[in-house]
């Protein structure tokens, strides 16, 4: 039917217009029922003269944030540096852990299983290695991906640090911290 109308008509409808129509109208009906029952007027209000005074308050807030940023500036660069160094250090540590874990497999498994490389054939060796790899304890040591790793984003920039400190540090507290340094 839709196709036939379409052929005889110079006008077009958006794709799936008629197939979606029932759903659209059903939603409109529910929406109208909600509006009849609850309305869609704004039930919120603001304190007296809030919008008239907003620009003044905004200027005060901007000045406060600028002041905090100026006070923080020397410390932000240091903090950014520390985070980057700490991040790199963590990456190095996690790599060392992986190397140590592999070393641990070599030492402990070989000793515990009393392997004598002189007495085994190459095929036996492969078979033995398969056996060791099937051992759950060894797999647990080797399964690095399951180990929870500390997530550190080394791409933190100075803006993000300032924002964090501004959001979470009260100016009075910050001045107190500075005084104690």
């Amino acid at each position: 039917m839709e196709e036939k109308e379409h052929i005889n008509n110079t006008f077009k409808t958006p794709e799936n217009y008629f197939s979606n129509f029932n759903n659209e109208i059903q939603i409109r009906i529910i929406e109208e029922q909600l509006k009849d029952k609850f309305g869609n007027k704004n039930p919120f209000s603001v304190p007296k003269d809030y919008f008239q005074n907003f620009s003044v308050e905004l200027t005060k807030e901007a000045k406060r944030k600028t002041r905090v940023i100026q006070m923080l500036k020397p410390y932000i660069s240091i903090a950014a540096g520390i985070i980057i160094v700490f991040g790199i250090w963590q990456i190095i540590l996690s790599n060392i852990d992986k190397v140590n874990a592999v070393a641990e497999i070599n030492d402990t498994t070989i000793i515990e299983n009393n392997i004598n490389f002189d007495n085994i054939e190459f095929d036996d060796l492969n078979e033995n290695i398969d056996d060791y790899l099937a051992d759950e304890d060894i797999i647990a040591v080797m399964d690095f991906e399951e180990e929870p790793e500390l997530e550190i984003d080394v791409n933190v920039d100075e803006d993000e640090i300032s924002e964090y400190l501004i959001d979470y540090t009260d100016e009075a507290d910050f001045e107190e911290i500075l005084a104690s340094l």
């Binding site: 529910i30 909600l34 029952k37 919120f44 209000s45 620009s55």
Partner: protein, 182 residues
């Protein structure tokens, strides 16, 4: 000054690189619209005030980087929406440490909020909206209360019209279910 004239004037000031005047005009003309957009998301006045101030501070900070070919209206609403979502997520994280959810806290606070003038029916509707997932809540508020067109919403939220319609349909059905209990 109507909306189109204001946008033209702001565009002109930005092209002239008169950022201070452009900013003043932006604050004057968009503070109320942005406030109500934010308020519907965060519900409480003090929270809306915080988010609105943060929004304008961000606008001031990045005004020189604003792409002059985009619509200022879309850009402002996008910043305000992102700021509100960031604010809500921070509150949710803080609420994780207490014995209640952020939505539950809002729902209780709303009843005694001196800046909520709604009757019982409107309170029920607000509680129903609070029960929605975040994206559906934003879309429902914009469409039902703000009567924002899907096309504008699509630019602000950077989501396709089809996906917005689907979110709104789900939201309306969930709200219908929720209010049946009352």
């Amino acid at each position: 000054m109507n909306s189109a004239n204001t946008e033209n004037k702001i565009d002109h000031l930005l092209k002239e690189n008169d950022l201070q005047q452009a900013f003043n005009l932006i604050v004057e003309n968009y503070k109320e619209r942005l406030y109500w957009h934010i308020r519907k998301m965060v519900l409480l006045h003090d929270d809306a005030d915080d988010v609105l101030q943060n929004t304008f501070i961000k606008v001031w900070r990045y005004l020189d980087k604003f792409n002059k070919d985009s619509k200022i209206f879309t850009w402002l609403f996008r910043i305000a929406t992102n700021e509100a979502i960031t604010f809500i997520n921070k509150k949710k994280k803080k609420a994780e440490d207490s014995f209640t959810t952020y939505e539950h806290y809002l729902s209780n606070t709303l009843e005694s909020d001196e800046y909520f003038n709604g009757d019982e029916a409107q309170l029920i509707l607000q509680k129903a909206v609070l029960s929605l997932p975040e994206k559906q809540r934003i879309v429902f508020n914009m469409k039902y209360f703000g009567e924002v067109k899907y096309k504008d919403m699509s630019e602000i939220l950077d989501t396709s019209v089809g996906s917005l319609k689907a979110s709104y349909h789900h939201a309306v059905k969930k709200i219908e279910e929720f209010v049946k209990k009352y």
